[in-house]
Every structure is written in C-alpha cells, then in structure tokens.
C-alpha cells in the first residue's frame, strides 16, 4: 500500500501544467470562440511534440506506455486550463480502448489515426454528438449493440451548437460506408463507459479547482464596505465548502484510474464513484464561484464562465451524477457483502 504519486507522475503533471499555462490562456480560448474555430491545430501539434497524444500507446507504437493514473493527473490539468482540443478524449476513448476494439475496427482506426496524432471522434449514447467531427479523421460510434467505424469522407454531418462554445459538436445525417462489429460488445461498452466517466471526472476536478482559484483571487481584489469581500465569513465559508468537496473527490479519481490500470473487476464501480464525487464537487464550485463574484460572475466578460461552461458539459455527458448513482446502487445491492470496510482496495 503506497497511495502516493511517483516523482515521474508529478513531473508529467507539472510539465503539462506549465505548457497549458502558456499555450492555453483564456485569451486564446476566446480567440477560438470568435473565429468559430476552437480546435487550435498549432496547439494540437505542440501537444503531439510534447508526447501527450500518444503517451499511452505502447512503446512499439512510439508511445510511452503511460498508465491511467498519470493520464488522469494530466487530464486534470487539461480541465484546469479549459483545454478545448479533444486530447483527453483521444487519450482515454481511443488510445486506451484500442485493445478492446474488435479487430476490423482496430485496423480501421490504426490506418486513420497515425499513431495517435490524427484525431478520431467518438459517439456513444452517453455522449451522442461527436466533438470536433469536422477536424477528425474518422468516427468510432457505439450504439446499443455494435461498434462502428466511419471514415470522415464516408459520412455527412452537420454542426449542432453546444452551450460551451469551446465544444464544437456535430450530428450525423447519413453514413455511406460503415465498418461494424458486435463481438465482445458488452465488455467494450463497459470499458468505454468507465473511461468516459473517469475522463470527465478528472476534467471536472481540474475545472472545479480552477473556479475556486479564480474566486479566491477575485475576493481578495474586490472590496466592499472598505474591505476585501474575502474577509467576510459568508464568502469564506462558501469557498471552503468547495475546497472540502474537491479534496474528497480527488482520491476517488486516482483510485479509479489505478483500478483501470490493474484491470480490477470493480473498475466500473470505481469510475462511477469518481464521476459521482467530481460532479458534486464541480456543481458546488459553479454555484459558489458565481456567487462569490457577484454580478461580475454573471457576465460574458469574466473568464469564470469559460470553465463553468465546460464543467456543465462534463457533468452532463458520459453519465451524469444521477446515472452514476444508479450504477453504484446496482452494484451495491447485488454485491453488498463485498463492499464496505474491507473492500476499498
């Protein structure tokens, strides 16, 4: 038992953090909004160079064979920076499930995505509108019984707008050439849903942290009644409540990631737990951060909503809190003797 990060893991996290602090500023995100082009190829290219996009591919494929705990730590930073590009998606939903895909789908993906550097979009009942489909080389589409791959030129689609302008979403109108497979579908679907939950959980924890950091700075700066509003206890307590939620959501993310890396049979439960805790933390972070900003928090001008909008989306897709609750309950009620004090690890 050593529930602690290695120096390497911290180093990866710090590297991506400082990269994003420079390259993914609020101004650059707003620039994408104005140009109606949130997918920034320059930044995508730099992330490829940094080794992030293929970090969890096997070494034989030019990757680093990185484990899910390190990925989660990096994805947390992507949330913190509000990174628009679908890096977390590519890492968790494509690279990390490639070994679960049916053979013909794997071949189709591999011939299109150039060792992780070409983006492949994903559609699933829990996140039905593929993200940045017009910037993708193809689409993996899971419905309720089979897995499909469609190359970009083999389908027609149209844009559908998201409440988060950083997320360019699409819906498919028609597909001309579809590669399909249904073998091992349940196993694949479970693996995908778990990764979707974990990925959004990690993003949410970063987003929640960002919102509380922005709020802590703002309440020091803004004065009323001759004092910084951060000296008022009502304001302090709102932010402290968020800090508590974040603190106890984080280890759930790390444990879930660890479970995936160990192929723990309870990993689906652990990922649901992570998303459940992180969605609650992010929800309170949104509510209390706006409140601590007053009317400024309700403006388009203030950067807070860049992160809040992403958080709302991440709470909604890949299974919201209610859905995770359902998954947890089903597991608890069918195997209650195997849960609790002795079965945390």
């Amino acid at each position: 038992m050593n529930f602690i990060f290695t120096e390497e893991q911290i180093q990866f996290k710090d590297t991506i953090k400082s990269f994003l602090a420079e390259e993914c500023t609020p101004a650059s995100i707003r620039d994408g909004w104005e140009k109606n082009k949130s997918f920034n190829f320059e930044r995508w290219k730099n992330l490829i160079e940094l080794g992030v996009l293929n970090s969890n591919l096997p070494e034989a494929k030019g990757g680093l064979g990185m484990d899910q705990v390190t990925l989660a730590l990096m994805v947390e930073e992507m949330g913190y920076a509000g990174l628009p590009e679908p890096v977390a998606e590519q890492i968790f939903l494509v690279n990390d499930i490639i070994s679960f895909l049916p053979k013909n789908i794997t071949e189709a993906v591999e011939s299109n995505y150039n060792d992780g550097t070409q983006y492949i979009a994903f559609a699933h009942p829990l996140a039905p509108n593929p993200l940045f489909l017009n910037d993708a080389a193809g689409l993996i589409l899971l419905n309720n019984s089979e897995c499909n791959f469609i190359a970009k030129d083999d389908m027609d689609f149209e844009s559908i707008s998201s409440n988060d302008p950083s997320r360019e979403l699409f819906q498919i109108i028609s597909m001309n050439k579809v590669i399909s497979a249904s073998e091992n579908f349940d196993e694949l679907n479970t693996a995908v849903s778990a990764r979707g939950a974990l990925m959004t959980a990690a993003l949410l924890i970063g987003l929640a942290q960002k919102m509380i950091d922005l709020s802590s700075v703002y309440v020091l700066d803004r004065t009323q009644f001759g004092k910084p509003i951060g000296s008022f206890q009502a304001v302090k307590h709102m932010l402290a409540d968020v800090a508590v939620k974040i603190e106890f959501a984080k280890p759930a993310v790390y444990r879930a990631a660890y479970s995936l890396s160990e192929n723990n049979p309870k990993s689906a439960l652990h990922c649901a737990h992570a998303k459940f805790m992180c969605a609650q933390a992010a929800e309170l972070a949104c509510k209390n951060s706006i409140q601590a900003h007053g009317a400024m928090g309700y403006t388009w001008e203030m950067d807070l909503h860049i992160y809040m909008r992403k958080a709302w989306s991440m709470m909604a897709c890949w299974g919201n809190e209610d859905r995770q609750q359902d998954i947890i309950f089903k597991t608890l009620s069918s195997a209650s003797e195997e849960l609790g004090v002795l079965y945390t690890f």
């Binding site: 602690i4 970090s55 680093l64 206890q233 603190e247 459940f276």
Partner: protein, 395 residues
C-alpha cells in the same frame, strides 16, 4: 519546450495491501474474534460501564493491541499508519467496544511521542496502554469555546509545582477519568496564544471538583472540572513553559486529521445503512436510495483520502491545515447517514427501546452525530481555517 519523451521509468503507485499487511489483518481478526465480548458492554458513561471499558483496554493491552503504531517499549508494536488503519478496519468490523481511552491513545499519545521527555513517555504511555490512566481532555472553559486562546484558568509556578485555579468544561470522559491534559495560563500577564502551557493533571488531587454534565442522551459524557489551589508537580509540564499553544495545535491536528475518526467507523455505518435500506426498500422513496449511495460514496472517499494522507506521511510529509477539510467531511457525513437511517425507520425512529431493526442504536448515533460538527473545533471554525490558510483569504 521540454519534451516528455525522455528516458524515464514509470513507477506505479501501489494501492493494494501487501502479503504482510494481509497477514497482519488476519492476525487482528483472529484475535478480535476470540476476545471481543459477546454481550455489548454497558455504556461507558456509567460508572460500571466505564470500568468494563477500562477492563477492555487491559485486554487489548494483553494482546499488545493498545496502539499498534507505538514503539514496543511503550506497549505498542512499532507498526506504521497503514497497519493502524487495517487494525481499525478490523476493529470496527468486529463491532468491538468504544475506546474509552481515545483521548489518551489517539491524542495525548502522539503528542507525548513528539514533545514528551523520556521519563514522561515511559510513565504516561505505559499507564495509558494498560488502561490504568484513562484521560480526559481539558481545553474548553466557560469563556473559551471556539476562542480557545481566551483561556483563563491559571497555573502559577511556585517552586517545584504549579498551583492551578479556575475551571474547565465540556471535558469528555472526565466524569470517571483518572487524568486530564489541558492548557493553562502560566504567564498571568500574557494574552491570547502566548503564556499558555500544556500540563498533565491527575484528577484525584486535593482541590479538584468534577461535576458531570448529562448530555443529549441523558448520560454524563462530559464534565466540568473546578480547580481550587490544586498543586501539580512541575514535571507534569509537557514541553516548555509557555509553549502550550503550539503543542495543543499538534494535538488538535491529530484529532481532526487522522486519529480520532478513522475511516472504518464511517464505512461501517454506511454498510449498515445500506443493509437497513435493502431490508426496507419497499416503503422508501428514490430520494432515500440517493442518500444511501452518497453515504457509501463519501465514506469510501474518506477512506481513500486517509490512505492517501497516511501514505504521504509515511513518505515524510505532515498534515497541516488540511486536517480541517477532513473534520468537516466526516462530521457532516456522519450526520447525513444517521438522518437517512431515521427516515428509513419511519415511525419506529422514535423508539429508544432496543428493537429488531436497531432503531435505538441509530437514534443514539443520530443524537451523537449532532456533536460532530461541534467538538474538535466547530465546523465554522474549520471553514475559517480553510479559507485563511489554504485559500489565502484575509483574516
């Protein structure tokens, strides 16, 4: 740009138990199985129950289980925090008796380890382990609750002893305890945090009057302690004269952070809540189900967080103001779980007599869960600490 692609070996974190740890768990389990009394002890807030619980402390000590993290010379096993957490898990799983000496073993013990002299350690730790000294905690005074620095009880150095005058209150276990540790003002001209000292006081000294205070459940779980020219030998001073605040903060850190409320307690409550819900599911609404899941999720998170903290401490880290986060989390969780249990119980939630569905136990726990957000520093005070020390907001 610094590239990630350099030669590095990816070492993984390890969050499962080693074979040695599993063997240790088995050892604890086996011992508890043959030693935990079959009939529950009487309440530790009655004279007779208190002595039964003292006896249990002695039994624990005979098995070397008083405090597994202490060095062997003081009655411990020299084990680490992870093993302590394992011990606690088994302890709660076995429904073993409440530790009547928790003020001693969980709070004063680690404080002595850090600040005590060799003589103090061997005298007090051993007597604590054997259950011969059951400890009370004496911080609060009528005028010093949340504002602990307003302490006015004085201890004046006169030759080889301190002379103590004043009053402590809300002192848990003091009704029947043997000793109390507390903060006293040794520099009469001092104010606030300065001039306080940490002194260990036997409760049978002349000049001490203990007046038990019945709690919400009607039993004297805490007491007032009056000091009237009480003479305490100077060797009972822990740390330096005037260093009391610093030492007390360390004790409070152990209390909030890790020791007082190990996760197993809440995981066990969550498991029992689930069991209660599954047996009564038919007449409950989906809202209750959501709470039951939340109870599991939060107690699970609390456990993960504590293992994370314990691992960090083993790697040389320390807990600071983060302990305030945990204190809020477990106390609110405990209250939520008991409140949910009462909702499941329906009309029997008012029965204080033993019944089939354990209503009385839930009610007792429910009442006590109201105290969690108050003792060990109220949750409002913890939020102030979080905002000021962790988030950097102005005082």
């Amino acid at each position: 740009m610094h590239s990630l692609k350099k030669e590095m070996q990816i070492l993984k974190m390890k969050i499962n138990f080693t074979n040695e740890q599993n063997a240790f768990r088995d050892e604890v389990r086996t011992w508890l199985k043959s030693n935990v009394p079959e009939t529950p002890l009487l309440s530790l807030d009655t004279k007779e129950g208190f002595e039964q619980h003292r006896q249990w402390e002695k039994t624990l000590n005979q098995g070397n289980w008083s405090m597994v993290t202490w060095p062997k010379e003081y009655g411990g096993r020299g084990l680490d925090l992870i093993e302590w957490l394992i011990f606690e898990e088994e302890y709660y799983r076995a429904d073993a008796p409440t530790r009547v000496n928790q003020n001693g073993v969980f709070l004063l013990g680690p404080t002595l380890m850090e600040f005590g002299t060799h003589e103090q350690k061997s005298k007090f730790l051993n007597a604590m382990a054997t259950g011969d000294h059951i400890w009370a905690q004496g911080w609060s005074e009528p005028g010093a609750g949340s504002d602990m620095a307003a302490i006015r009880t004085t201890a004046v150095l006169e030759g080889d002893h301190y002379k103590i005058n004043g009053q402590k209150t809300w002192s848990s276990r003091a009704a029947y305890a043997d000793w109390t540790f507390g903060l006293f003002r040794t520099d009469l001209d001092s104010e606030r945090h300065r001039g306080l000292s940490f002194i260990l006081v036997p409760l049978d000294l002349p000049g001490i009057t203990v007046r038990p205070i019945p709690q919400l459940d009607g039993e004297p779980g805490f007491a007032e302690i009056y000091f009237d020219d009480v003479k305490v030998p100077v060797e009972n001073l822990l740390g330096g004269d005037g260093e009391g605040w610093k030492i007390a903060m360390a004790t409070a850190g152990f209390e909030r952070g890790l020791m007082l409320r190990s996760p197993a307690r809440f995981q066990q409550t969550a498991a029992k809540l689930l069991e209660l819900y599954l047996a009564n599911q038919d007449h409950c609404s989906p809202m209750i189900q959501a709470k039951v899941v939340e109870a599991w999720a939060q107690s699970e998170s609390y456990a993960l967080s504590i293992y994370h903290t314990a691992s960090k401490m083993l790697a040389g880290g320390s807990i600071g103001s983060e302990s305030s986060l945990g204190k809020i989390f477990w106390s609110e969780l405990d209250h939520m779980m008991h409140q949910t249990a009462l909702k499941i119980l329906g009309a029997s939630a008012e029965l204080s007599q033993e019944s089939q569905n354990d209503a009385a136990k839930w009610i007792k726990g429910f009442m006590f869960s109201y105290a969690g957000p108050i003792y060990a520093g109220t949750n409002e005070i913890q939020k102030n600490i979080i905002a000021e020390r962790l988030l950097g907001l102005p005082r």
